[in-house]
Amino acid sequence: MNMKLEELSPLYEYQEGMPWNPVEKVIMERRSIRGFKKEPLPDTMIERILEAGRFAPSAGNAQPWRFIVVKSPEILAAMEKDAVRVIKFFMFLLDYTRTGFLLRLIKKPLAKFYIRILGNELHPVPFELMSQIALGKTKVFHDAPTLILMVEDSRGVSCPPMDIGICGENIVLSAHSLGAGSCWIGLIKVLMYLPWWRKRFGIRKPYRLEVCIALGWQKPKADGAVPREAQVIEWFDRGLNDAPRYTKQGVKS
């Protein structure tokens, strides 16, 4: 059930219940695109998209980012191959969900030990994803014709990973507003276990590479609005000692 957001409001105005404006439409309809056409975006378009990243807000105007554009099909293929190799190795050790009874006995405690240490990297979602990749059921970089590596300068102000997030979201929204597709890929982290990839991209202290963005023309077109969980919002808008007021975001009250 695809929600149509066709009527648009002008920018820089607000009335209650008015249709989305173009910026909001791009935000609401942006989906992570995981199917791309073979031909890459033109270089000028990539430059235009990167320009949105260059003008992102950052703490103390530190701009703690460095962009690397990877377009070479050979390098992309080699990245895919090595990422799958590393993921296969980890899943050989840790994937207890698809083994027989005996191996499960050995792997499950080991996996749970590592989940305690690497809670974010081995969250159920990436764990299942890596498990599927190890089985050859899906791909790491989705055959994207272009990758933008978001290299983070860890000497930035306050919290550099957050600046990377803000900058990347600018890039993603700009790409979608131009009709391209994009997807955040955090699994590029696994390549950082391999010294030759760190060397090729020049990832040494103080630089860190945690995330990249796949860019390309959408095939099939998959942008569209989707339902999301309604969130409970706490409003501290009364006296100093009063309890907060709760509302459900996304549900008409």
Binding site: M1, N2, M3, E16, G17, M18, P19, W20, M28, R31, S32, R34, G35, Y96, T97, R98, K108, K112, I115, R116, G119, H123, P124, V125, F127, E128, L129, Q132, G136, K137, T138, K139, D143, P220, K221, A222, D223, G224, A225, V226, P227, R228, E229, A230, Q231, V232, I233, Y246, K248, G250, V251, K252
Partner: protein, 126 residues
């Protein structure tokens, strides 16, 4: 609304393949509206949507060519958990509106989330 986690919830890591400990997304495929074009199978982030005859990799690599692929379903692990993260990319991409989502993704125990509710809502114009 609960505002904090119990000690047990903090400590215990759920079994990732157990449907009792991990609430996964639930999709409904409308048999009549579905034209079996395979777009949702190709778009699924984890390759978890399958049909009787094809998988995501078959479509990407061009092994499965054209024709009707069959009505998709969500792959399940041996213990019966699906791996749907309720992103609903499939539903956004479906040109025929054949997919509806019934349930959100909410892993248990250590990964339990507090402020998300189970209602799935489209963007609301306030």
């Amino acid at each position: 609304m609960r505002t904090s986690f119990s000690f047990f919830d903090r400590i215990r890591i759920p079994d990732y393949d157990s449907p009792k400990q991990m609430q996964a997304g639930e999709l409904l495929f409308d048999q009549e509206k579905c034209r079996q074009c395979g777009i949702c199978v190709q778009i699924c982030p984890g390759g978890c949507l399958l049909t009787e005859t094809t998988t995501k990799m078959d479509i990407i690599s061009g092994k499965a060519k054209g024709g009707k692929y069959g009505v998709p379903h969500v792959a399940k692990t041996r213990k019966g958990a699906t791996m749907c993260i309720a992103c609903y990319d499939c539903g956004a991409a479906c040109p025929h509106g054949a997919i509806t989502i019934k349930q959100n993704f909410n892993p248990g125990y250590h990964y339990k989330r507090l402020t998300q509710t189970s209602d799935m809502k489209y963007p609301l114009r306030y």
